[in-house]
């Protein structure tokens, strides 16, 4: 579909606003609908759109598989790390109160970090799943 100018230009114009909207949903989770999970899916959908329109090879050039898997693990570690940190500071797993100077600040920092970890993990899992499924050849003998 690379040779269709309408689709190509639409993708070029839409790519950045989609990611910007995804990040808005990510950081806006305190006040309205939103949060890490949904934001991860939106950010991943921008990369999936790019990979669909320009082909899988170009998509992997933009966002290589190694970085993808590294960020996937980093998100999980961030989530667990906040939990462990609060355990180290002498409270239960994932209780945010002890992270900051006051209780309020602690809640804020904890929620922000955990949401960021969730968003990172979800978006990278979505992209990894898309890469894995898209790498299949069509196996029912239809060569096109």
């Amino acid at each position: 579909m690379d040779n269709n100018p309408i689709l190509r230009i639409a993708t070029k114009i839409l790519f950045a606003p989609i990611i910007l909207f995804g990040l808005y949903v990510q950081f806006h989770g305190d006040f309205g609908p939103g949060g890490g999970f949904q934001a991860g899916v939106i950010v991943a959908s921008a990369f999936i759109l790019y990979a669909i329109v320009f082909g899988l090879e170009k998509g992997k050039e933009l966002f290589p598989l190694s970085i993808n898997l590294f960020l996937l693990a980093l998100g999980g570690i961030l989530y667990g790390g906040v939990g462990i940190a609060s355990m180290m500071l002498g409270d239960e797993f994932l209780s945010y109160n002890v992270l900051g100077s006051s209780q309020q600040a602690g809640q804020h920092i904890g929620i922000l970090l955990v949401e960021f970890g969730v968003g990172l993990t979800v978006s990278n899992v979505m992209i990894a799943l898309f890469y894995a499924f898209a790498s299949f050849e069509s196996s029912n003998g239809e060569k096109k």
């Binding site: 579909m1 269709n4 309408i6 689709l7 639409a10 114009i13 839409l14």
Partner: protein, 106 residues
Amino acid sequence: MDLFTDLLTGLFFFLGSLSIIIGACGLIKLPDVFSRIHAAGMIDTGGTAFFVLGMIMQSGWSLITVKLLLIGIFIFFTSPVTSHVTANLAREKGMVPEGKKIGKLL
């Protein structure tokens, strides 16, 4: 002033409802794929434009207006892309529409 806004909103909603219902009827009634794309385009453009205008009348000037305009711009941007891609793929799969042809086709 309040009554006037409400009246205008009602008019826009009426036009929008008419537009999407006629579009849906056309989606059932028209004969082939290429004609149905016109009906679908009517749902996309007419319905969205009138409903968004009506809701802007109702909301006044605030952040909600910006979000409504964002929805409108987004749908107005993506609707022609999807209908063009559908029509293009249908043509490439070798479907020839009914009706007369003028000039040489690509």
